[in-house]
């Protein structure tokens, strides 16, 4: 009994040795790597990605998929800002009071998630195609009303969370850690969390066991979108503006991190802790490439190749097939 428990544990921790190795390699490449500043930087740059991975991992474990997260991370803050800034700054001209920006941003996330849920659960459309369509539509909406422009006039209250430091650490990093901690505990120790695994493993059986599968799935989709909106808020704070391409192309990295971290695309398997280690491993790799002075023209190819190698390594260290 203890043996199997340890083994399950071990699969969760499979990436930790890899992370240690990356730390050593990083230190060898450049002494700056181990400095507190650099490491905090790595963490802060990864907060948005990690929130998306958190959301996507929940969705994947429940047996669905949400590609539209990478557009929500751009549209939610952009639309929220659009509603408060004047038309001259590419706003919509509604000019709502400034304090509404953050609640609006999160609300937009909720609405997008709920709409995804409506299409997937009520109309029973394929999650993959629905969210692929939404990915395009949401990005298009953002480009449409901003006319492809950056939104620079961001109120200070809106950038606060993404740029503040609490207890010597970026606030966004702390927010992320709290979000993961809540998620990890909820998925391990709460009935509602376990029901996500049950639904992903066999939705019919879950329903037979008295789980309200539709309600749970809807909640999961909304949480994922909400996390994406939160990530958008943090990203806007970190960068000081919202670009029309904010988040574009992130979804590949989101999947890579989740799968490297042991979340299965075959439903009902994986843990949030694993997903978090996946994000960290990718962040360290990218940082080392940058510090190592790899030509920016090559960084994309090398980064992509390394993700594939990381997938390979994760496959063999965890000893199980990735579906």
């Amino acid at each position: 009994m203890t043996k199997t428990l340890q083994f399950a544990r071990f699969r969760d921790l499979a990436l930790l040795p890899a992370i240690v190795v990356l730390m050593i390699v990083g230190a060898l490449v450049d002494p700056v790597f181990l400095s507190a500043d650099n490491l905090t930087n790595v963490l802060q740059q990864r907060t948005e990605l990690s929130l998306l991975v958190l959301g996507q991992a929940l969705v994947l474990i429940s047996g669905k998929i949400d590609l539209s997260l990478e557009s929500t991370i751009g549209l939610a803050p952009a639309l929220a800002l659009g509603l408060i800034i004047p038309a001259s700054a590419h706003g919509l001209g509604v000019e709502l009071p400034e304090w509404t920006a953050i609640p609006l941003c999160l609300l937009i996330g909720v609405v997008i998630g709920a709409f995804n849920g409506f299409l997937i659960l009520k109309l029973q459309l394929s999650a993959f195609i629905v969210t692929l369509g939404m990915l395009t539509v949401l990005r298009g909406l953002q480009i449409g009303f901003t006319e492809g422009q950056n939104l620079f006039e961001v109120p200070l209250s809106f950038t606060y969370l993404g740029s503040a430091r609490w207890f010597g650490l970026p606030a966004s990093v702390l927010i992320c850690l709290v979000a993961f901690a809540i998620g990890i505990v909820a998925l391990a120790y709460f009935r509602q969390g376990r029901s996500i695994y049950a639904i992903g493993g066999n939705a019919e059986a879950a329903r037979a066991a008295g789980i309200r599968t539709e309600r749970v799935l809807w909640t999961v989709l909304i949480i994922a979108s909400l996390l994406a909106a939160l990530a958008g808020l943090l990203m806007t704070g970190r960068l000081g503006s919202v670009g029309p391409a904010q988040g574009q192309g992130m979804i590949f990295t989101v999947f890579a991190a989740a799968v490297i971290g042991g979340v299965s695309l075959d439903h009902g398997k994986g843990t949030l802790f694993g997903a978090l280690t996946g994000v960290l491993a990718l962040g360290l790799i990218e940082n080392i490439l940058t510090l190592g002075g790899v030509s920016p023209h090559w960084i994309q190819a090398i980064y992509g190749a390394i993700i594939l190698i990381a997938l390979l390594l994760a496959r063999f260290t965890s000893g199980k097939a990735q579906d």
Binding site: Y189, F190, R191, R194, A198, A205, A209, G210
Partner: protein, 501 residues
């Protein structure tokens, strides 16, 4: 007051009428049997009585109160617990979690204590004689253990009304006995059961009332004690011809060549099995769940790798652990786990039945739909598969009819060796006869047949029956054995010992 009452229930699936204005009344504290041929609508009624499906018409009451809204799953679960015909085990979760699914926090606290959950699960499993570590993923369970976990879950839930849809189809004798003991205990404390089975003797053993469905309609409800087996069969089938008694197959020609030879075959579950079957011979292998008989069959057909020993079909050696090799050598088989290894649920009946012979259905690798249709229609006919046509996805078939599709698939390649594991599990009494007739027919055409089962009806037509016990062949009976001596051998009591007592 009645525990459950359904009135005027009608349910259609497309053009198929699964239930046509049926009713059932289950009184408090009784064990009520529901019987009918494959596709009669039994499981459909179960899905309506447990709130998984909405009836097109009709009403359901529990304790004379209308059934809860379909969306209120909790309310349904308080009223009725169920072992569904189709497995509802979630393979990726642990055994313990499957057992306590959706009620993992035992004392209504919201935090789950995994330690006490595992302890509690061990207790429940032990009381059902299931010897597995509750912390293992349920994917590791055998078919029988899976079924026992489902039963343990339903019975330990504390419900006052429990539905069991063919709970015994995958269980061996002692496990069935244990289940019945449990049921009697619960019944004396006032629990009501609705019990579905194709083993009619079980109905007479455990139930007081029986309801018969035929072709989606209610035929009769009567006290069990006032019916004979023949009357019951007549009600199910609609004709008076009783069940066949006795079975005659021409005896084997002395010069029939050996087709399947197994020598020194060994794996973790069985040791050094030697076996040879001649053309046209039907050999049975009986044994309890732990006897290794299922594993032996799996090793012969390539589903399992043997650690040593050989399997030959004619002169050709079959590579161990390779199904394609076994198929090529001429072995067809019905696996134990029809959901995992037997069927592709989304594909049509015809496509499933012809999966092993795709290369023979057309030229240059193309598949001719008309040829496939023709083959499929013949099989549907031969095995009396109840379906709306060869294109119906097998997921829409009743459990017993799915089993027949697996059988059709095994037969499709005209195998020279046929290995059948529990071939009649979930198949109704009349279809069982036609299934066994088909086995006779292929044997008569020169196929060597290995029947792995502890269903006495499956074993009776065999030319000889081998008994396995703890991984070894311990006895061999030529045709003409008595039930008593075979059962004694299966349970590990040798015939002499039995005679001494």
């Amino acid at each position: 007051m009645t525990a459950v009452q359904a009135t005027g229930v009608t349910k259609r699936y497309g053009s198929t009428v699964a239930l046509d204005d049926v009713g059932i009344t289950v009184e408090y504290g009784e064990s009520h049997a529901l019987v009918g041929r494959n596709g009669a609508g039994k499981s459909t009624l179960v899905s309506i009585l447990t709130g998984l499906n909405r009836a097109d018409a009709g009403s359901v009451t529990f304790d004379d109160e209308p059934a809860p809204a379909l969306a209120d799953r909790d309310a349904w679960r308080r009223r009725v617990a169920c072992v569904y015909q189709k497995s509802t085990i979630i393979p990726a979760l642990t055994v313990a979690e499957n057992l306590f699914i959706n009620r993992q926090s035992l004392e209504r606290r919201s935090l789950i204590s995994w330690k006490s959950l595992h302890a509690k699960a061990s207790e429940v499993l032990a009381s059902f004689g299931v010897d597995v570590d509750p912390a293992r993923p349920a994917a590791d369970l055998t078919v029988e253990q899976r079924q026992l976990v489902e039963i343990a879950r339903a019975l330990s839930f504390g419900a006052r009304f429990i539905i069991l849809d063919e709970p015994t189809a995958q269980l061996d004798g002692p496990a069935i006995e244990r289940l019945f003991e449990r049921m009697r205990g619960l019944q004396s404390s006032g629990v009501t059961f609705l019990f579905i089975s194709h083993h009619l003797q079980e109905i007479f053993e455990i139930c007081q009332t029986v309801t018969v469905f035929r072709d989606a309609r209610h035929v009769l409800t009567s006290p069990v004690s006032s019916l004979s087996t023949d009357e019951l069969v007549a009600a199910m089938t609609g004709d008076a011809a009783g069940l066949r008694v006795g079975h005659t197959r021409p005896s084997l020609p002395a010069d029939a060549p050996v087709v399947l030879s197994v020598s020194g075959l060994r794996s973790e579950a069985f040791f050094g099995v030697d076996l040879s079957i001649r053309a046209g011979e039907v050999v049975g292998v009986a044994g309890s769940a732990s006897s290794g008989k299922v594993e032996l069959g799996e090793a012969v057909v390539g589903l399992r790798k043997a650690t040593s020993g050989t399997v030959h079909v004619g002169q050709t050696a079959v590579r161990s652990g390779s199904v394609p090799d076994a198929l090529k050598a001429g072995i067809g088989f019905v696996p134990e786990d029809r959901h995992k290894e037997g069927l592709v649920p989304t594909l049509g009946v015809g496509e499933n039945a012809t999966l092993p012979i795709m290369d023979r259905l057309g030229r240059f690798g193309a598949i001719s739909p008309t040829r496939r249709r023709a083959v499929a229609e013949r099989m549907i006919n031969d095995l009396s598969i109840k379906t709306s046509g060869p294109d119906q996805p097998v997921s829409g078939l009743s459990g017993g009819n799915q089993q027949k599709v697996v059988m059709a698939r095994a037969l499709s390649s005209d195998p020279s060796v046929l290995v059948l594991t529990d071939p009649t599990a979930g198949v109704d009494v009349r279809s069982k006869e036609s299934l066994l007739d088909v086995v006779d027919q292929v044997a008569a055409e020169g196929t060597a047949v290995l029947v792995i089962s502890d269903e006495l009806d499956d074993l009776r037509p065999c030319d000889r029956v081998l008994v396995m016990f703890h991984g070894e062949v311990t006895a061999s009976f030529p045709r003409g054995w008595t039930d008593g001596e075979l059962v004694a051998a299966i349970e590990g009591v040798s015939a002499e010992q039995g005679a001494d007592e």
